[in-house]
């Protein structure tokens, strides 16, 4: 019986092609927008999660100048600072972390702005110099996106006045490995150049590596003084440690020493970012859903017209034995089909749009630090999203058809037969 309704419904839809397609189009647009937005949003969240997984959930970021509770403006503020690589530099005794058994290793970085000149560059400029503790780019590779070099070598213990340049900076300064640049008037030998990222780096989490200048942290101390001054410390805990608890201990420890710090765990950052992305995704999907509602109204309108136009046919159906519910089902299946066909085409279009987005955004979002290749963005089309979209559009169509179908079902057979 249901198959008969489906056959008849399809027959009727085909019979009124232009009107049917226009109605279906309304659903297509809505479904495509919702599917694409959810797929892209989910893809972004997955990408963020992968980046933080790469960093490791047992990594804690410590930045000085906190209130000892969280960052200056709560965890969110802390994150902003972290994303900028830490802005204010303060001396804290990072060695004190050795007292905590859960801390496996740590690394520090310090950021200063310095006057940089190069013989090959006309004029001069103030650039951000990042001082790194030895081994930090290996110990926390994911944070630095692998820190892979196109030429030269990384720092070693004996290095003093040496610098590794981001790919873009090397181009701007017009220097290669072995050349010298001047930072605050002191000669620094370029020992390595970072791989440029196609997109100019970025990623969701960390600042651009492409425009960075990296020196041993001791070299910054030599230039600017302030032993033990740092902008940010990365701490790896033992695998089984409770990261939240360790964060608490770290904040307590430094508060006691009179140099309060803020902490941020990878999990906290991930949650915050995902929270923001999730909200954004919800808002966009809700806007797209409005167009679905409009599409549903379109289906309702079409079905009302259809019932009116087929009043006589309904009369005939009833004369040859159709019950009210037969008429009801026929129209419901028909409007459900309008929804489902729109849903199916909408899903295909949504899949197309989101894979197009993957291609366009994939480059822009990948390749940045913190990914090490794992940051590659691709829209996430779960089977549930597709099944959900198809089911929803069928149900939407059917619901939109309820009132018109009921009107048809309730028609008096004699009156319907008389209808011209």
């Amino acid at each position: 019986m249901l198959r008969d309704y489906m056959r008849l419904a399809l027959h009727n839809i085909r019979h009124r092609q232009i009107r049917s397609w226009l109605t279906i189009l309304g659903i297509v647009v809505g479904v495509a927008a919702v599917v694409a937005l959810i797929a892209i949003g989910q893809g972004m969240q997955n990408s963020v999660e992968r980046q933080f997984e790469a960093i490791g959930y047992n990594t804690i970021i410590v930045f000085p100048g906190g209130t000892g509770e969280h960052g200056p403006a709560g965890p969110g503020g802390g994150m902003m600072r972290m994303m900028m690589g830490g802005t204010s530099s303060t001396a804290i005794n990072i060695e004190a972390l050795g007292r905590l058994p859960q801390v496996v290793r740590s690394g520090v970085q310090r950021i200063e702005t310095a006057l940089v000149t190069s013989e090959r560059m006309e004029g001069q400029g103030f650039l951000r110099i990042t001082g790194l503790s030895l081994g930090i780019t290996d110990d926390f590779g994911a944070y630095f996106g692998g820190f892979s070099l196109t030429e030269g070598r990384k720092f070693d213990r004996s290095d003093e006045a040496v610098v590794i340049l981001g790919g873009q900076v090397a181009l701007d300064l017009g220097v290669a490995t072995g050349d010298a640049i001047q930072i605050e008037g002191t000669d620094f030998v370029v020992i390595g150049i970072l791989e440029g990222s196609e997109s100019g780096g970025g990623g969701f989490t960390f600042r651009n590596m492409d425009t960075g200048l990296f020196v041993p942290i001791e070299a910054l101390e030599a230039l600017f003084g302030g032993e033990g001054t740092l902008s940010l410390a990365l701490i790896e805990t033992t695998q089984d440690a409770d990261v939240g608890e360790v964060s608490l201990m770290i904040r307590g420890l430094f508060r006691q020493m009179g140099t309060p710090v803020g902490t941020l765990t990878a999990e906290e950052m991930s949650e915050q970012l995902q929270g923001v992305l999730g909200t954004l995704q919800m808002v966009l999907a809700a806007i797209a859903a409005i167009s679905l509602v409009v599409g549903g109204i379109g289906v309702m309108n079409t079905m009302y017209t259809s019932v009116l136009e087929r009043t006589r046919e309904i009369g005939i159906m009833k004369a040859i034995g159709a019950k009210d519910r037969h008429v009801l089902y026929l129209f419901l299946v028909e409007s459900g089909f309008l929804g489902a066909i729109g849903g199916a085409i909408g899903v295909l279009l949504g899949v197309g749009l989101s894979s197009l987005a993957s291609r366009l955004m994939g480059g822009a979002l990948a390749g940045g630090p913190g990914g090490g290749g794992s940051a590659t963005f691709s829209a996430s089309l779960s089977p549930w999203l597709i099944i959900g979209a198809l089911t929803f559009s069928f149900v939407l169509g059917a619901i939109a058809g309820v009132l018109p179908a009921r009107r048809g079902a309730k028609l008096q057979p004699v009156e319907a037969l008389r209808y011209e």
Partner: protein, 228 residues
């Protein structure tokens, strides 16, 4: 088979009350071929709708197969129409988008007859009315006479006990009209189908065993009812 007692049917047409049937008493027996005759507006179509359980009276009793149709829900009436009654209309009333075969199958769908069986029965019925080579045609591709034969095949789909025909030849030329009437008469004679034909044409009424005259919503001249 069919019995009407003091049946009243009124319509509200705008502000005026139209009395279509004003106390009709009538009995039709199984296997009879009855013509209901009257000028237009006499209430004969209204009477036919009541006989076919398409409509319900405002007063009186309509017994169909011993059941009072006033007592029944819309659902039961629909079932009654589907199983016991076959309609043939003046305007054919075929579904224009469906083929002859699909039109004949349609009533069986509402009775839940499996598709394969529907096909077989519909083909047999179209054969019975002489349209075996026109089964895939849409109504618009058929002549008036052919359309009416499709409609008769459709009316027979669920093997009804009563066949109701409202001016079945009203839209046909005389030759096709004659063929249709011969077909209907044959159904009555050979298959014992109770046949009620509503018409204003005395020639059509001539096929019937009995003619009931109706005028202004009332049965006329009851004494003459039993003419052969």
């Amino acid at each position: 088979m069919i019995r009407l007692e003091n049946v009243i049917r009124t319509y509200q047409l705008g502000k005026t009350q139209v009395e279509a049937l004003r106390g009709v008493d009538l009995q039709i027996n199984r296997g009879e071929f009855v013509a209901i005759m009257g000028p237009s507006g006499s209430g004969k179509s209204t009477l036919m709708h009541l006989l076919g359980a398409l409509d319900q009276p405002n007063g009186g009793i309509v017994f169909l197969n011993g059941q009072d149709i006033v007592q029944h829900s819309r659902n039961v009436l629909a079932e009654l129409r589907g199983k016991k009654v076959g309609f043939v209309f003046q305007m054919f009333n075929l579904i224009p988008t469906l083929s002859a075969l699909d039109n004949v199958e349609y009533p069986m769908m509402f009775q839940g007859v499996p598709r394969r069986e529907r096909r077989t029965r519909a083909k047999r019925l179209l054969g019975l009315v002489g349209l075996e080579d026109r089964m895939r045609h849409k109504p618009s591709e058929l002549s008036g006479g052919e359309r009416q034969r499709v409609a008769i095949a459709r009316a027979l789909a669920n093997d009804p006990e009563i066949l109701l025909a409202d001016e079945p030849t009203g839209n046909l030329d005389s030759k096709s009209g004659k063929q249709i009437m011969e077909l209907l008469a044959r159904l009555n004679e050979e298959h014992g189908m109770t046949l009620i034909v509503v018409t204003h044409d005395p020639a059509i009424a001539g096929y019937a065993q009995r003619t009931i005259h109706i005028l202004d919503g009332q049965i006329q001249d009851l004494a003459n009812e039993r003419e052969e």
